[in-house]
Amino acid sequence: MADPTTEARIETLLPFREEVFLLCLGFSRNAVVAEDLCQDVYLKACRKLDSVRHPEAVKYWLFRLARNVCRDHHRRSRLVGFDPIDSQNEIAAASNSGETDDFEDRLVRLKSSVESLPRKLREVFILRMYARLSYEDLARTLRIKEGTVMSRLHRARVAVARAMNEEHHA
């Protein structure tokens, strides 16, 4: 049985677990990895929750933490140089057009398009499209203005759409 402080911390943070999981999914492009990352995020958050001064800022702090954990994971995985098995299967399935449906094909194209975005655009895109954060939440999480959020999101959408079209025609 965890001590009362830990219980209270988990209770404070648990309502945001779906957003955090989806955010991790957007960054990792793999559901299993996303679940592990989500656990890591919550583990760190429970241990460092005391560092948050304002209780109303916990949500944004948690999303920032999640983004940083995902970014670290991305960096590490690039250094080690491995790809999740699922994504390899997806690529293989996508190349075999006779056996895959349209959704799988679009999913693979979407993931590679998102991956090719610049970091700032990718973050906004994932936080908005996957974690479904509002513009205000996005702005407070990333500590930028709402106008900047909208501008980056627009650019990200256009870039993703263009990349997906190019891949489709290629």
């Binding site: 830990t6 219980e7 988990i10 999981f21 989806l22 999913l107 979407l110 996957y130 997906m164 079209n165």
Partner: protein, 188 residues
């Protein structure tokens, strides 16, 4: 052209939304909601991983180590610096003559010192003699006159021991120190 591109882009936007929504929903279905909290509690109860480099995690040790390294380096340099011979003496000598040459005359301890400009290559002994003459006022002539021993006169006895002369050769501060010593000697 633009219109068709816009339509295409709009269609792709909808595609993006649909793909992301479906992917998220499928992933959320597999995401264990109840299991998540219990797994988290189990992991939180586990001890933290052992911290490596404990020594450097304490805020005291790193500065202490820095001070130790700096002190060792300073001691090493101090032990290594002196006594590397004539080159250093020669350089000091040149520095002193240059500083004397820069001012025509100056007073130290109530004694007038005229400028002495020993030629290049003149020994430290002759320069010290010139300095002695100038300081006592026995020869208040020009630099070249004062630097050379008086013809037919008694040879000037060395004023300073070799060790003291060595001190002379170390810059302006050393000159003042030596002259002050000379003044005391004169008074006695």
């Amino acid at each position: 052209m633009h219109e068709s591109q816009d339509k295409k882009s709009a269609a792709t936007d909808a595609d993006i939304e649909a793909v992301v929504r479906r992917e998220s929903e499928e992933a959320l279905c597999r995401f264990p909601s109840g299991d998540f909290a219990s797994r988290l509690k189990t992991r939180l109860k586990a001890p933290l991983p052992r911290q490596r480099f404990l020594l450097f995690r304490k805020p005291v040790f790193a500065p202490a180590l820095g001070v130790l390294v700096a002190a060792t380096a300073a001691i090493f340099l101090l032990l290594r610096a002196p006594n590397d011979g004539d080159v250093r003496v020669e350089a000091g000598f040149r520095r002193m003559t240059e500083s004397l040459a820069a001012s025509d005359a100056f007073r130290v301890g109530g004694l007038r010192v005229v400028s002495c400009k020993p030629d290049e290559g003149r020994s430290a002994d002759s320069f010290t003699s010139a300095l002695f003459r100038a300081a006592t006022g026995s020869d208040a002539g020009s630099a070249s006159e004062s630097a050379a021993p008086a013809e037919g006169g008694a040879p000037l006895r060395p004023l300073f021991s070799p060790d003291e002369r060595f001190k002379i050769l170390y810059g302006d501060q050393a000159i003042l120190r030596v002259l002050t010593k000379f003044t005391t000697q004169k008074e006695v």
